[in-house]
Amino acid sequence: MNAEVSLVLQRKYEQLQQLADDPSAQISQVFEKSLQYVRRFSRYQNPDAVKQVREVLTRNQLHEFEVCVIGNLCPETVEEAKALVPSITKRGRMDDEKIETMLTDLATIKKFE
């Protein structure tokens, strides 16, 4: 999820500054663009909140792909979640009530972040 990667890349950025011989050494374009992207598009900043989000999503038995898309986009309604990640409803994996509970849990984490 973007939020998790944001925490990792921030730490990496500080490490890279220390590791480089040459203080003006350039950080790679890919790293820089990725760091900017996750800083901008992370929904959660607090590391504990991020952990809780992952917990909520994995305990609903979502596949990694689904965990990431929902964690990155934070759908607010059941319809939104189903439109973004249609696979969560396939083969009766999650009914509307379960999805609703999951989204409410995520919203609560966000509120108390």
Binding site: N2, V5, V8, L9, S34, Y37, F41, C68
Partner: protein, 187 residues
């Protein structure tokens, strides 16, 4: 989206870097990071973002002639690759008659064709930065944020060191994103 993958590379340590264990480890790590960054990306994993942990080092063959030592390093690396059907948020970089381009992390340009944005019409501006696409509710211009679904993804282009990606705005809950508070829906 981001993934963390296991990779293996051969890393060369120059003779002048060989010394204490710590010095050699730092030299090896620096070299590894440089090599991985230089590749920029690959077909299998997408863009190489950052080396995270080193899992194991083996080998240690001395090259005849130079005296450099080559190690085989197993490590974890964060990579970024867009997946078909994934919905992502992205920033518009340019708008034109045929559609518009967005950037998404290390992907500098993902193209959304005008056929993939039904309901929008093109409004040319006095210069390219002012070109817009408008529909009844929302406007797309450079710096707008949009939610797009990834439609097609090419293989790695080794010359340009990037992928070619196409996206769509056609679909529920896709379209222009307004601030952090709400979202404009484009159906």
């Amino acid at each position: 989206m981001f993934f963390e993958v296991e990779m293996r590379r051969s890393v060369m340590v120059e003779p002048h870097e060989l010394g204490g264990t710590l010095q050699m480890q730092r030299a090896m790590l620096r070299r590894l990071i440089k090599d991985v960054e230089k590749e920029v990306g690959s077909d299998e994993y997408g863009f190489h973002v950052a080396v995270t942990t080193v899992n194991g080092v083996s080998g240690g063959k001395i090259q005849s002639g130079t005296g450099a030592v080559v190690f085989s390093v197993d490590f974890n690396c964060i990579v970024f690759k867009l997946i078909e059907d994934e919905v992502v948020e992205a920033e518009v970089v340019s708008t034109g008659q045929q559609g518009f381009f967005v950037s998404c992390g290390p992907y500098a340009s993902m193209f959304i064709h005008r056929k993939e944005m039904t309901g929008f019409s093109f409004q040319p501006g006095p210069s390219p930065e002012f070109n817009e696409w408008r529909d009844s509710g929302s406007v797309i211009h450079p710096k707008s944020l949009v939610r797009v679904r990834v439609k097609a993804h090419s293989i790695w282009d080794p010359k340009r060191k990037t992928f070619n990606v196409a996206g769509t705005l056609n679909g529920d809950l896709l379209g222009v994103v307004v601030d952090e508070t709400g979202k404009d829906d484009e159906d």
